[in-house]
Amino acid sequence: MLIAVSASGQTSFGLNGIYGISEESFTSINSFEYNISNYSVIKDWAFSFTYGGEFASSVTSNLYQITAAKTFGSHFVSLRYTPGYQKEFIFKSGEAIPFNNTEPINLESRFLYKELFGAGYSYRINSDLSVGFNVRYFKHDFTNENVTAIFSDTIYFVRETEEDNSELWKTDIGVIWKPFDKLLINLGSINLFTLDSEVTNENNSNFEIKTDKALFAGINYSPSKFFNMYLNLETNNSFLGGMSYLFDLNKNKLGFAVSAFHDNEQEPYIAGIIPAAIFTSKYFDLSLTYVKYFSERNTTGSYLDFKIDGISNIINNKYSYDKLLLTTNFKLNTLVEQRVKFLGVEIKHNIYPALNDKYIDEPVATAKVVNLTNEKIDVKPYLIISGISEDKLQSPIVSIPPYDTSEVNYYAVISENYTGVNPEITYANFYLMTVNDDFDDEYQKAMLVNGINAWDGNVKNLRYFIQRDMDFSVKYSKTILAKYKTEIDTIANAISNFHKAKIIFNSFIENLTYTSDPRASAEYVQYPNQTLELKGGDCDDLSVCYSSLLESIGIETALVDYKTNASLRHVNIMFNTKLSPNQAYLISENDTKYFIRKNESGDDEVWIPIETTSLSDFERAWIIASDKFQTEAINNFGLVKGEVQIIEVY
């Protein structure tokens, strides 16, 4: 029968100095005594050892236990080696053998009780329920001196030493249940399954550790994150109760615990008190524990009492001495502790590879992220778009308050080596990183990546096409200008830009024809080299090409976006002649053919529009463009209404 109100002594006595199981308090990985179910909240590895001194007739120091523990997901395993869990008794037998007037022979026996090692396993069913068991191995060494009667012609005694031993395996099961956040219930068996080997001398079996079956019930109440109370009861009429209070110390905790216990086998009723100083941090815990027994602890005792009562617990019995113990738990985490989590990701833009620089300024996606911790954390977002970007790109760090949700922007850089012509669906991988070496969370979402010539229809973004092929444009423009070096050298410097633009226009249109975009879902824009190679293009291709050629030789250009006809939008360009309004007559006395714009310094400069689709000559293209601009932008108030927009290339 499992439930038995027996007379054995207290068994749920550990060396930590704190005997409640609480996630806020000192970890109890090293104590199968009251942590029967082997419950743990450690994330990964943990190591524990207890070193201390026992105040017998002299102070003896000992390494009481070494524990290694590991969490595997919901499984937790621990191994404990207990070199200091020993108790030795020396019996001065008083057996006197007077014979032939010799002095009486005093015999001596030694009983050594050892717990050598143990192992525990627990499984966390859910956050509120955990079950587990432990197995412990004990050994009893009995060394008895006795006299043997020898019967020959005479009878005499000889002294002999008899060595005997037995082994004991104990297995107990337990369960941890948290019905409420602040309450934890700890239930377990005591000596549920025992298996022991037989001693050679049957008389020694009377002195083996008592293994009466009993039940253990512990309750742990934490009214605040600082304060913890616990009470551990055994059906063998023993109990232990106490409390702990831990203060915040930066990110660590420092405090004390005090416990008192009643042991059915010890006097007085409250057999002892256990004050402890506790320090706990992310990586290690420390406890300095003093075990003080209220009854006098002599180094001698009564054999008859021992014969009747025996011991149930090696480290806590009526023969145990006061102890001072230092317990250290190391918590080593090789696993990523998730501190932030994605709630969702919104793709802001499909990718147009030509608009590369745009994605450095504008996020391609925005994620909703939650901070899972109770402290403010800095989140580093990373993005890699499969096939587009070569490496993870870190976006700006975002700070998120404890348990709060925040938006995190992801920016992108498109590899210059990207040459995809057709649109394709690819995957964007979003990552969140905090203090760990690995990512806290990752999220994958499909994303449309257009071809390298795709354009989103926003004239403003044509500048990216203009800027992209600048090396080609520089080479092309300088080659043309070199042919007209003599002419250029003879003209006045003031109208140099005008003439260079004119030369380049007339040269580059020689072999070009106007062609429409290929049929595609996205608009199609050619890079300058493609336009010249293909010998044609539509308005945006030609505007891009001419703008790029002018920009490559230092002539400032702007795109003119005509949106007056919603079904037929048009783009041409204007460029800066660098002439002041007073010098405008040098290129035209018709003031409708040029327009005054202020530069960054606030000075007025003369700009002239060019219709790049007019592929006859520069003059014609200028007239068409200036007429259109005068009509739609000025006369019809297109600039005011926003139907005509001038967009700086740089």
């Binding site: 050892f49 006299v147 080593l332």
Partner: protein
């Protein structure tokens, strides 16, 4: 991570190197068991060592004179005999009896008057001694002793029944001079039980003895063997222990009893009151005993 393991191992090595053995607790064996060898030479014969089949009588020659009254139960072969004895030896210490080799075997006795126990006049019988010396068995008579003897209350025995937990009046009427006497207090009756247990792992035994303990100071147990040859009891050891009701005689004491010479063992539980007194200016040792002797076969 590696450096943390290194720190931990270093700490452990440091602490482990500083370890002592935990302080032991010394327990005192209050039982204060004493074992005394009675029969040093196992070829010795009874009477010289003061032992007979019924149990132990006193080693009479150690005293100037001796009065001993005994209530004896002898259990063997499933039967218990109740024996009552009252004996008086009055020695002439000036006349020791020596063996041929000069060892004092005893003293001659004298008969200076009449002795009564509970108004029953003690008979005079021969005080015989048997001893072995140089391989020769010698019988001799050292005089007379005063005796009352009864077994199982039989009519042809002396009508003396030992009264347990009571008193026996002793009266001495000398041939010359006035009478004198006193009461002898008797102990409670003792009833023992012997269980010989064969140990499972060995071809050996231990004896588990129980009796009703009365915590009388003078309590002892005599362990002897019964000779195969003549079924006489030979005492090996006197064990002095507390009159607390139980004792285990360990295997180490019993295992070497030579089975070829002793096929049974004899256990005598002896509860005794004794004192020294004066009788006619002579020192007198008076003892009153309750004895239960149990003879069991060695399994």
């Amino acid at each position: 991570m590696k450096k943390y393991f290194l720190y931990i191992l270093t700490l452990l090595a440091f602490f482990y190197a500083g370890c002592d053995k935990p302080g032991p607790t010394e327990l005192v064996y209050e039982d204060n068991l004493e074992v005394e060898i009675i029969g040093k030479d196992i070829d010795n014969e009874y009477y010289a060592n003061g032992f007979d089949t019924t149990g132990v009588t006193e080693v009479v020659q150690n005293y100037a004179s001796i009065i001993t009254v005994s209530g004896i139960k002898l259990t063997r072969d499933g039967r218990t005999d109740n024996i009552s004895t009252a004996l008086t030896f009055l020695f002439d210490k000036t006349k020791p009896f020596r063996s041929p080799q000069g060892n004092i075997i005893g003293y001659n006795t004298i008969v200076p008057g009449i002795i009564k126990f509970n108004d029953l006049t003690a008979r005079l019988t021969n005080y015989r001694v048997r001893f072995r010396e140089a391989g020769v068995l010698i019988d001799t008579v050292l005089g007379k002793k005063y005796e009352l003897f009864n077994i199982n209350g039989r009519a042809f025995s002396d009508p003396f029944i030992f009264p347990y937990n009571s008193i026996i009046s002793f009266l001495f009427n000398p041939f010359v001079g006035p009478s004198s006497g006193f009461d002898i207090i008797t102990p409670k009756e003792i009833t023992g039980n012997v269980k010989l247990v064969r140990l499972p792992n060995q071809n050996n035994i231990r004896a588990e003895l129980t009796w009703q303990g009365e915590n009388v100071n003078n309590f002892s147990i005599i362990l002897g063997g019964v000779r195969n040859s003549n079924q006489q009891v030979f005492p090996f050891f006197r064990i002095r222990t507390k009159d607390d009701g139980s004792l285990v005689i360990p295997n180490s004491i019993l295992k070497n009893i030579p089975r070829d010479r002793f096929n049974k063992i004899s256990i005598s539980f002896i509860r005794k009151y004794d004192k020294l007194t004066q009788l006619q200016n002579t020192e007198l040792y008076v003892s009153s005993q309750s004895i239960h002797t149990i003879i069991v076969e060695i399994p």
